[in-house]
């Protein structure tokens, strides 16, 4: 499946969850599908989506969904060790794995030879899901109804949708996101 279709499918199931979305095209694609005050779009700090999500999950009671990528998680692999040890039950870490750095011209990552789901299993993640094209009708409700931390590994096709950059300033993204969190407490 295309990444944007996968994001669309997941986004359609989300209601009140907070979302941290990885830098580059994943954020642009999510914004294009649906914008919401529950979304935090990363415009920098590649590799830190899972860490931002962990800090957030440990600081509020809402469920936190992170859209991460294979290249990004490989840059910050220690993060899954920290997540496992801190054990937040409200964190869902989704790795959209296209086996390449999609936003910089699809240079290959090592995710084609290293199974990131197996890495998460070895670290100790109890709740894991794997989806690829053979499981097209994947049921994200099942993921949302589980308690984690949850590692969701999804194989997607390389390539980006033709969507424009997000027309929001970083501070605007943050302020709106924080108001959303504060008013829900």
């Amino acid at each position: 499946m295309e990444r944007i279709e996968t994001i669309k499918k997941i986004a359609s199931e989300l209601t009140n969850e907070l979302v941290v979305c990885n830098i580059g095209f994943p954020s642009r694609e999510l914004y294009h599908i649906k914008d919401s005050s529950t979304h935090f779009y990363m415009l920098g700090s590649m590799g830190l989506a899972s860490s931002i999500g962990l800090g957030l999950a440990m600081s509020c009671h809402r469920k936190v969904v992170v859209f991460d990528g294979d290249g990004s998680i490989l840059m910050n692999l220690g993060s899954i060790v920290t997540i496992f040890n801190q054990n937040p039950d409200n964190l869902i870490l989704i790795v959209l794995d296209n086996e390449c750095y999609g936003s910089t011209g699809s240079q290959c990552t090592y995710a084609s030879t290293v199974n990131l789901g197996k890495v998460a299993e070895a670290v100790g993640f109890k709740y894991r899901f794997f989806f690829d094209d053979k499981n097209k009708e994947f049921n994200f409700k099942e993921v949302l109804n589980s308690y984690g931390p949850i590692f969701v590994h999804i194989k997607v096709k390389p390539g980006n949708a033709d969507v424009p950059v997000i027309p929001m300033e970083a501070i605007e993204i943050k302020d709106r996101f924080m108001v959303e969190i504060k008013t829900s407490k």
Partner: protein, 163 residues
Amino acid sequence: MDSSQAVYNALKISGINFVVSLPCVNLSKIMKMVDSDKDITHVPVTREEEGFGICAGAFMGGKNPVILMQNSGLGNSVNALASLFELYKLPVLMIMSHRGTEGEFMSAQIPMGIATPKVLDALEILYFNPKTPEEALKIIPEAWKIAETEGTPVGMLLDIKFW
């Protein structure tokens, strides 16, 4: 006053309730104090840049975050400080054991020790250099106030002689 106790007390006065840490021999006492404080969430991490990401998330979730680290870790955090903290105007207090300063016994610590203030200057990050526990107790709450008000990281460089 004991230097570690002064830093811990200052964090409490500041209302810090979320601490990310990486070990340094000079920080070990503070890490123990933080770890046994039930009002502080303590998250040991694997690398400083990861820690900054966690602090950013924690602040947005409503916490007052601090990172305890050795100055050596500043080098691998530069992009997070610029393209996350500066870009989104996020606060964090960086309590840094500053190795490679006067009294350093390990020559390997000297290059990064010298580079540290210059790296902070390049990032236009405000930092303080309290020399005594009393000074730290006074400056740390003021530094956090600045961080919170301005939405910016603020550094606290604690030299070898401070401990």
